[in-house]
C-alpha cells in the first residue's frame, strides 16, 4: 500500500483513484500548463465540499496565466517548480505541502483541494471549503427578550468566530483536535489562558485524546464520552447555542468545546448553579433577575416533588393539611376509581406522550397538539370521573415548572427522579419522599464535573466570595467584582470599578 507520493503523476493518480473507488463525487481535474514544455498537474477535490469558483479563479486561472511556467523551457528555473507554483503563482490564501497519502486523503475529505504535479513527489494542499450551510440565526432553544440573537451554526469556523468577536484578547487560545476514527470531527477547545486553571485544560485534553470511537455525530455524543458519571441522570457538562453564554463562561475561567456539525457548544465544568442560570439574568435588571432566580428554584422543587407529595397526602397522610383543604380534596375525589398512585401515573404518562408528540411535530401543529391534547384530555378525564381535578392541576404545574428550568437536560434528569419519588411515595408516603430526597441529595453532592463538585457554590467551599451572590440571588453587576471560585481561576478580579467608584 503506497504511503507516500511518488514522482510519477500516473501512479499517484492511480493510487488515489483506487482509494476513492465508487466515490463518484471526487473530481480529478487535469491541466497542462506551459507552451512548449507542458507541466501536467491534477487537481483533486470533492464536488460539493468545495467552492468551485475559488478553485477556478485562484488556483487554475492563476496557473494558466503564469508567465514563468509558460516560459519554462527557455531558461532554467531560479527556484524549484513547486516553489514557483506555491509561492509565486497560486493566489490562494493558504498553501501546504504534503507527501503522505493519508494526509492527502484526509485533506480531500475535509474539503481541501490537492494539486499533484508531474515529477514532483509532493502535493500542494489548500483550503477550499465551501459547502451549503445554515446562516447565523436566532437560537431556537434559548431565546431571550433582551440580548444578542446570534446563535451557533454547524460549522466550527463560524462558531469560533462568533466567540472570538466577543473576546478580543490575545490570551484567548484555540486548539483544534480531530476526534472520531471515521468521522474525524474537528473539535476546537477554547479557553482564556491567564484565567483558566491549567489542570482543567490538561484534564480536558486527556479525556478527549483517550476517546476512540467511530463517529462523533453531535456534541452530545462527545459529552457522554467525556463526562464524569454517565450513569447519573443529570448533565455534568453544560451546552448552549448562544455565543454570549460561551464568552461569559470563558471569562469565568471555564473551557468551551466546539464540535463540528453541531450548533451546541459544550462548556466545562458545570455545576447546579450554572445549569440554573440563563444569560437573560445578566441582561435584565437585577431585581427581576433576583425574583426569577428564586422562582426557578421553586420550579425545580415543584417539578420534582409535586406528584409525589400529592400521592403521599392523599393516600397516606390526610392529616397533614389544614382541615378545610382536606375535606375539599376528599370531596374532589369521590367516585374516582383509581388510587392516587395509579391516577398520577396515568396522567404523568399522558403528559409525557403529549410532550413527546409535540416535539416530533414542529411548527404550528406541534403547539396546537400540545394545547389541545392537554386541555381536552384533561378536561375529558375529569368529566368522565377518571381523575380528580386537583391532580390535573398538579400535573400541569409540574410540567410548566419543568419548562421553566433553563437547561433541558437538567429538567430531564429531574423528570426521571420525579418518577422515582412517585414510586417511593406510593410505598412509604411522606417518609418515602424524604428518603428519595436524601438519596437524590447525596447523589448530587457526590457528583463531580471535571473535578469541580457539582453542588458548589452551595457547598460552602473555600471562602464564599462570589459564590452565592451569583447563584441563589442575583447581585447587581456592581457587586460581582470577582470571578466565582469554583473554577479556581488564577486571576480573580474581573471588574475594577464602576463610574461611582471612579468619582470617589
Amino acid at each position: 500500500m503506497q504511503k507516500i507520493l511518488l514522482k510519477s503523476l500516473e501512479k499517484n493518480e492511480q493510487v488515489l483513484k483506487h482509494m476513492f473507488t465508487d466515490c463518484d463525487d471526487v473530481v480529478f481535474r487535469k491541466i497542462e500548463v506551459g507552451d512548449i514544455f507542458k507541466v501536467k498537474m491534477t487537481f483533486i477535490f470533492i464536488d460539493g465540499l468545495v467552492s468551485k469558483e475559488y478553485i477556478a479563479e485562484h488556483a487554475i486561472y492563476s496557473l494558466f496565466i503564469e508567465e514563468e511556467i509558460k516560459s519554462f523551457s527557455l531558461n532554467g528555473f531560479k527556484t524549484s517548480l513547486i516553489d514557483i507554483i506555491s509561492k509565486e503563482t497560486l493566489s490562494t490564501v493558504d498553501i501546504k505541502e504534503e507527501y503522505r497519502i493519508e494526509n492527502i486523503v484526509d485533506a480531500i475529505l475535509s474539503g481541501d483541494t490537492v494539486i499533484l504535479i508531474e515529477n514532483i513527489d509532493k502535493g500542494l494542499v489548500f483550503d477550499t471549503k465551501g459547502w451549503p450551510a445554515r446562516g447565523v440565526s436566532e437560537p431556537q432553544t434559548e431565546t431571550v427578550i433582551r440580548g444578542p440573537r446570534d446563535g451557533f451554526t454547524e460549522s466550527v469556523k463560524v462558531n469560533m468566530t462568533l466567540v472570538r468577536r466577543r473576546i478580543k484578547d490575545v490570551n484567548l487560545k484555540i486548539k483544534m483536535k480531530k476526534v472520531g476514527r471515521r468521522s474525524k470531527t474537528s473539535v476546537a477547545i477554547m479557553y482564556i489562558d491567564d484565567i483558566v486553571d491549567k489542570s482543567l485544560v490538561q484534564e480536558v485534553n486527556e479525556r478527549l485524546n483517550s476517546i476512540d470511537i467511530d463517529a462523533v455525530l453531535d456534541s452530545s455524543i462527545l459529552e457522554n464520552l467525556i463526562e464524569d458519571n454517565y450513569l447519573s441522570a443529570f448533565p455534568q457538562i453544560e451546552n448552549t447555542e448562544r455565543p454570549d453564554s460561551v464568552a461569559a463562561a470563558l471569562y469565568e475561567g471555564r473551557i468551551a468545546i466546539i464540535v463540528d456539525n453541531s450548533p451546541f457548544v459544550l462548556i466545562v465544568p458545570a455545576t447546579i448553579g450554572t445549569l440554573l442560570q440563563s444569560s437573560e439574568d445578566y441582561y435584565t435588571r437585577w431585581q427581576e433577575a433576583q425574583a426569577v432566580r428564586l422562582l426557578r428554584l421553586l420550579a425545580v422543587g415543584l417539578s420534582l416533588l409535586s406528584p409525589a407529595l400529592y400521592i403521599s397526602i392523599i393516600s397516606y397522610h390526610p392529616g397533614l393539611l389544614p382541615t378545610k383543604l382536606t375535606y375539599y380534596l376528599g370531596a374532589s375525589r369521590i367516585n374516582v376509581p383509581f388510587p392516587a398512585v395509579v391516577e398520577t401515573f396515568l396522567m404523568e404518562v399522558t403528559i409525557e406522550l403529549i410532550r413527546e408528540s409535540g416535539t416530533r411535530i414542529s411548527g404550528p401543529i406541534g403547539t396546537t397538539v400540545g394545547i389541545v391534547g392537554g386541555l381536552i384530555i384533561g378536561q375529558a378525564a375529569v368529566e368522565a370521573g377518571i381523575v380528580s381535578p386537583i391532580l390535573i392541576i398538579i400535573v400541569a404545574i409540574t410540567t410548566i415548572s419543568s419548562f421553566a428550568i433553563p437547561s433541558y437536560e437538567m429538567a430531564a434528569g429531574l423528570r426521571v427522579w420525579r418518577f422515582i419519588l412517585i414510586f417511593l411515595a406510593a410505598i412509604f408516603g411522606l417518609y418515602g419522599v424524604i428518603l428519595g430526597v436524601i438519596i437524590l441529595g447525596t447523589h448530587l453532592i457526590k457528583l463531580n464535573s471535571f473535578g469541580v463538585p457539582y453542588t458548589s457554590p452551595y457547598s460552602g467551599l473555600g471562602v464564599g466570595s462570589g459564590e452565592l451572590k451569583d447563584t441563589l440571588i442575583k447581585a447587581p453587576i456592581q457587586q460581582l467584582k470577582e470571578r466565582p471560585g469554583f473554577t479556581n481561576p488564577r486571576n480573580k478580579i474581573r471588574m475594577r470599578r464602576s463610574w461611582k467608584d471612579a468619582r470617589k
Binding site: 486553571d197 397533614l320 382541615t323 412509604f428 408516603g429 417518609y431 428518603l435 438519596i439 447525596t442
Partner: protein, 364 residues
C-alpha cells in the same frame, strides 16, 4: 484542581451542629425538666460549656501532630494495644448509637406517619439510605451537613415564629427555685445530648485554615447550645413546668399546638417529621462513616466502604432487640452514655495528655 478535598471552616461548623443536634432535641426539654424544673436551661448551658474544653483538647491534639490523621496519632501516642482497646469500645459505642437512632426514628415514624408499616421495613430503608451517604468521604459528608444545617436553623426559627402566638413567657418563672443540688445529675443527663462531636476527630485533619478551625468548632457548639435553650424555653413557655414533665416529646407536641385556621397554618407535624428525618440522618451518617473508618483501620484496608454494608445486619438486629422505647433507653441508652463517656471524654483527654508529654520529652 480545586482544593475540594479539604473541608472549609463553614463546613466544620455545619458538621458539628448537624451531628450533635440529633435525638436530643425531641425529648431533651422533658428529661432535663424532670430533674431540674424551670432551671433546666442552666444545665443546658453548663453542659454545653463543659464540652468546649474537650473540643479545645481535640484541636490541640491535631496541632501537636500536624498532618497525621487520628488513627496514626492514636497509634503513635498510646501504642498499638491500648489504642485497640479504645477503638473496640468506640466501635461498640458507634454501633449502639446507630441502632438507637434507627430504632427511635422507626418508632416515631410508626406513631406519627405510617401506622401499619412494619418497623423492620422502616429501619432497613433508613439504614440503607444512610449507608449510601456513609460510603463516601468526609468531604462529601461535610458538604451534606452544610446543606442540612440551614434547614435545622430555619426550623428552629419557624418554631419561634409560630409559637409566639400562643406562648406565655411567664411560664418560665420562677427562676432559680429548683434544688441546685440536682445540677450535677441534670448536667449529666444533658451532656449526652451533646455527644456527636467526636466526628471532629475525623474531620479536622482534612480541613483547611488551621487557625480558624478551633473557632469554627466553638461557634458550632455555641449554636447547638442556643438551639437547645430556645427549644427548652419555648416548650416550657407553652406548657408550664408540670405539663412539660408529663410529655414524652415536648418539641413535637409544641408543633401540634400551632393552630391558626385563619392563616391556614395547621397540622404542621408532617413538616416536622420531614425535618426530623433529615436531622437524624445528619447525625447518623457521620457516625456510620466513622464506624466504617474504624473497621477499615482495624483490618488494615484502604477503603472503608467495604464495611458499611456488612454492618447493616448487626445494626438491624441490635435495633430490634429492645422490646419498646423504655427498654431502648434502658439498654442501649445507658450503654451509649457510659461508653460515650469513655470515648468522647476520656479518650481525647488521654491522648492529648500523653501526646503532650511525649512531644515535650522528644524535644528535650
Amino acid at each position: 484542581m480545586q482544593e475540594n478535598d479539604k473541608l472549609s471552616t463553614k463546613q466544620i461548623r455545619a458538621l458539628v451542629v448537624s451531628t450533635i443536634v440529633g435525638i436530643g432535641i425531641l425529648s431533651l426539654p422533658n428529661r432535663v425538666s424532670l430533674i431540674q424544673g424551670n432551671d433546666g436551661w442552666i444545665s443546658i448551658i453548663l453542659a454545653g460549656l463543659l464540652i468546649l474544653p474537650i473540643i479545645a483538647v481535640i484541636n490541640k491534639i491535631f496541632e501537636l501532630y500536624p498532618n497525621k490523621n487520628f488513627y496514626q496519632i492514636g497509634n503513635q501516642v498510646l501504642g498499638k494495644w491500648v489504642f485497640y482497646i479504645f477503638l473496640l469500645v468506640w466501635l461498640s459505642y458507634q454501633i449502639s448509637l446507630i441502632s438507637y437512632l434507627s430504632r427511635n426514628l422507626g418508632e416515631l415514624l410508626k406513631a406519627f406517619l405510617l401506622e401499619t408499616t412494619p418497623t423492620e421495613v422502616l429501619i432497613i430503608s433508613f439504614i440503607l439510605t444512610t449507608s449510601y451517604m456513609s460510603r463516601s468521604e468526609i468531604q462529601i459528608i461535610g458538604r451534606a451537613a452544610y446543606h442540612i444545617y440551614p434547614i435545622i436553623v430555619g426550623f428552629v426559627i419557624l418554631l419561634i415564629l409560630v409559637s409566639l402566638t400562643s406562648v406565655d413567657f411567664t411560664n418560665i418563672l420562677p427562676l432559680f427555685q429548683s434544688n441546685m443540688k440536682n445540677l450535677p445529675k441534670s448536667i449529666a443527663t444533658t451532656f449526652f445530648s451533646y455527644i456527636g462531636y467526636e466526628i471532629l476527630l475525623f474531620s479536622i485533619p482534612f480541613s483547611e485554615g488551621k487557625e480558624k478551625i478551633s473557632n469554627a468548632c466553638m461557634v458550632g457548639v455555641g449554636i447547638v447550645i442556643l438551639i437547645y435553650i430556645i427549644v427548652f424555653l419555648l416548650t416550657l413557655s407553652q406548657y408550664g413546668i408540670q405539663s412539660l414533665q408529663r410529655q414524652s416529646f415536648p418539641t413535637l407536641s409544641l408543633i401540634k399546638e400551632i393552630d391558626l385556621p385563619g392563616f391556614f397554618i395547621e397540622n404542621l407535624d408532617g413538616l416536622v417529621m420531614a425535618v426530623w428525618v433529615l436531622v437524624i440522618f445528619s447525625t447518623m451518617a457521620p457516625i456510620y462513616y466513622s464506624a466504617g473508618k474504624t473497621l477499615s483501620y482495624l483490618f488494615r484496608t484502604k477503603e472503608h466502604r467495604l464495611f458499611i454494608l456488612p454492618l447493616m445486619p448487626i445494626i438491624y438486629k441490635l435495633s430490634l432487640y429492645p422490646q419498646n422505647m423504655i427498654e431502648l433507653d434502658e439498654l442501649l441508652g445507658k450503654f451509649i452514655n457510659y461508653s460515650g463517656l469513655v470515648v468522647v471524654v476520656l479518650m481525647p483527654i488521654t491522648i492529648f495528655c500523653v501526646g503532650y508529654f511525649k512531644t515535650r520529652r522528644d524535644k528535650t
